[in-house]
């Protein structure tokens, strides 16, 4: 029997809100960020272009303030608990920047694949590496694991296409239609998702 490995998207899958708009509140540009984020989730702007644009808007933002904001973000606690209990068999796969999401990484204690940035002291400068979610699965995992991918937005299509079983999760909003079309399973309830994942162990 092939052992399972679980790959989770972050925004809207582990967090109950999108992270960049919350961070952008610090600079008072939440509305602009919300609109760009919405367009990205729904595939109106490609992730890479949008991410570069959105991070440029956050140039100079203080890391300690970003961490304070991120610590206040509500999480899907049952999913967090599942990851913590099975951290050896779980990974977080997110386009967000490693330094910013470190408070969440500290909670989850699983493998993290993310984008990377350059910082000048406490201040964010620019992005140096944007994560390709599809490539992560191609490169990071051997064939002896059955990969379950869990996500909600257009950015997860490549993740889904490179997994063995894909789960479109509508815990916050309706999963994007194009993602549902490439998914194997659709769920809207955190408890149902965790019960299903427990069955795979």
């Amino acid at each position: 029997v092939t052992r399972p490995f679980f790959c989770f998207d972050l925004d809207g899958t582990i967090t109950k809100v999108e992270i960049l708009p919350i961070i952008s509140r610090i600079l008072g540009i939440e509305e602009e960020m919300k609109q760009l984020t919405y367009k990205t989730i729904h595939g109106i702007i490609p992730f890479e272009e949008s991410f570069l644009l959105r991070t440029q808007m956050l140039k100079g933002i203080s890391t300690s303030e970003v961490h304070r904001a991120i610590r206040g973000i509500p999480l899907f606690e049952e999913i967090v608990s599942f990851i913590q209990r099975n951290n050896e068999n779980c990974a977080l796969i997110t386009g967000n920047i490693d330094v910013w999401i470190s408070p969440i990484a500290d909670i989850l204690k699983c493998r993290i694949f993310s984008s990377r940035g350059v910082f000048s002291g406490d201040e964010f400068s620019h992005v140096t590496h944007i994560l390709d979610k599809g490539k992560v699965l191609e490169l990071a995992f051997k064939d002896d694991r059955h990969i379950f991918a869990i996500g909600d937005g257009m950015g997860d299509v490549a993740l889904f296409q490179n997994s063995n079983t894909s789960i479109a999760f509508g815990g916050v909003h309706e999963p994007v239609e194009s993602l549902v079309k490439v998914s194997d399973i659709v769920m809207y309830d955190e408890g149902a998702l965790c019960r299903f994942l427990e069955l795979q162990l």
């Binding site: 399973i185 149902a192 299903f196 069955l199």
Partner: protein, 214 residues
């Protein structure tokens, strides 16, 4: 009584014989959809998996309004594949006993509870009902009338296979073109439980079901 944790409702098919542009699980009896009645009867089951295909968005939207924690498994090839394939898409993820329920039938909560009460962990249990629908799969009982000895397509008996069963493990394989009863034939003789199930395969079945519930 050993109530399984998981139930699989198969609701992916086109319903070619009834010829409607609506999934059969959404047909209404007593003012509610078939799948509404099923979810009410299955309310004590912890994990409900509904296999969707034909008009999946319509079915998912409808079901979510009844029970939010349903898991939907998509049969992307629902026009080309069998019900066995549909069930396998879910059962391949299970390592424990489970129920299967055809999405195109009606039964009462009380009858279904009586069926659950008869389940023993290690024994497959099939639901049969008095023969009434057209083009049925009939069941033949052994001499003592204790167990099902065979499934019959041409020799009519008093009982027919309902599409509802308790299975101790997954006997199904992906891309298998056989019918569910053909797969279950490998396990004969099998225990059965008789209850009133109204299967809706044709327009006439639907009209008969409406009349019988009036």
């Amino acid at each position: 009584m050993s109530i399984p944790r998981v139930a699989i409702i198969s609701a992916a098919g086109l319903g070619t014989r009834i010829g409607l542009d609506t999934p059969k699980c959404l047909l209404e009896l007593k003012g509610q959809s078939l799948i509404y009645h099923q979810l009410m009867a299955l309310k004590h089951i912890e994990i409900i998996i509904v296999i969707v295909g034909f008009k999946e968005n319509l079915v998912m939207q409808h079901v979510r309004n009844i029970r939010k924690d349903v898991i939907f498994i998509r049969n992307k090839d629902y026009t080309l594949t069998s019900n066995v394939h549909s069930i396998s898409l879910a059962a391949q993820h299970l390592n424990e006993p489970f129920l299967i329920v055809d999405g195109d039938c009606y039964f009462s909560e009380e009858d279904f509870m009586r069926f659950l009460e008869k389940i023993e962990t290690e024994r497959i249990l099939l639901v049969v009902n008095p023969s009434r629908t057209s083009d049925s799969v009939y069941v033949k009982l052994d001499k003592e009338q204790n167990r099902i000895s065979s499934f019959e397509r041409n020799n009519k008996t008093n009982l027919e296979w309902s599409g509802i069963a308790y299975l101790t493990r997954n006997p199904f394989r992906l891309n298998d073109k056989r019918y569910v009863y053909e797969v279950l034939s490998d396990f004969l003789p099998l225990d059965y439980f008789e209850m009133n199930v109204l299967e809706i395969d044709t327009w006439q079945d639907y009209q008969n079901a409406i009349t019988s519930l009036d």
